[in-house]
């Protein structure tokens, strides 16, 4: 699964640390999600999409084999 979190973060000009604080998680978690090392829960994905003002489908993109 790919994700556009880094892109959306850049659009809003916020750091991983700031995003982590807004979502109530650690910076390491945001880093792991961006690098596809950790798949976030539905709740965290929804919070993230609401924060960026995009749909979950725009934020996370399924790849072949997922």
């Amino acid at each position: 699964m790919k994700n556009n979190i880094k892109v959306e973060r850049a659009k809003k000009d916020i750091t991983q640390e700031q995003l982590a604080d807004m979502l109530g998680v650690t910076r390491q978690t945001i880093n792991a999600i961006e690098k596809n090392k950790y798949l976030p829960s539905t709740l965290l994905s929804l919070k993230m999409s609401a924060l960026f003002g995009v749909t979950v489908n725009e934020l996370f993109i399924l790849e072949e084999g997922d």
């Binding site: 109530g24 998680v25 650690t26 390491q28 978690t29 792991a32 950790y38 976030p40 829960s41 965290l44």
Partner: protein
């Protein structure tokens, strides 16, 4: 969102220090306590006490310390930390099962290679504890699954 049944809350992060202290200082404290008990004559037959108790007593501070460390939250606890902890617990139980089942084989490896008589190591207690753990995991999982499914059936429209 409603929490599932049999939810055990982890200890707050500050307990990690306590766990670490018990792990480090527990053994010397117990050794000193025993020395005091022997010196004051509360333990009369010290020889039999040491033969029966000294070996298992070593494990108490280690197990209590490690249990507190394992069941305490991290300073920054979030869903990724919880997922990693869950994975560690699952792999830990898995390696425990494999390790304990293979214990009689690798403890007898030398005697087997030397064609000497093979002795079964004293693992009865450990196997009993492992059985209880596995029974609990199975029963707890099935109980939770059954209740969740039943709740979903009644909610179905």
């Amino acid at each position: 969102m409603k929490e599932g049944i049999l939810q055990i809350k982890l200890l707050p992060a500050k307990y990690k220090k306590l766990g670490l202290w018990i792990l480090i200082a527990g053994l010397p404290v117990i050794a000193n306590m025993i020395a005091v008990l022997v010196a004051t004559g509360i333990i009369t037959n010290s020889r039999s006490f040491f033969e029966e108790w000294s070996y298992p007593l070593v494990y108490y501070p280690i197990i209590i310390g490690l249990a507190i460390l394992n069941f305490s939250e991290e300073k920054q606890e979030d869903e990724m930390v919880q997922t990693l902890r869950y994975k560690s617990f699952v792999s830990g139980v898995w390696f425990l099962v494999i390790g304990l089942l293979l214990l009689p084989f690798y403890s007898n490896l030398y005697t087997l290679l030397m064609s000497q008589s093979v002795k079964m190591p004293d693992v009865g207690g450990m196997l009993g504890a492992l059985t209880l753990l596995l029974v609990y995991i199975y029963v707890s999982f099935k109980y939770n699954l059954h209740h969740t499914r039943r709740a979903l059936e009644t909610d179905e429209e």
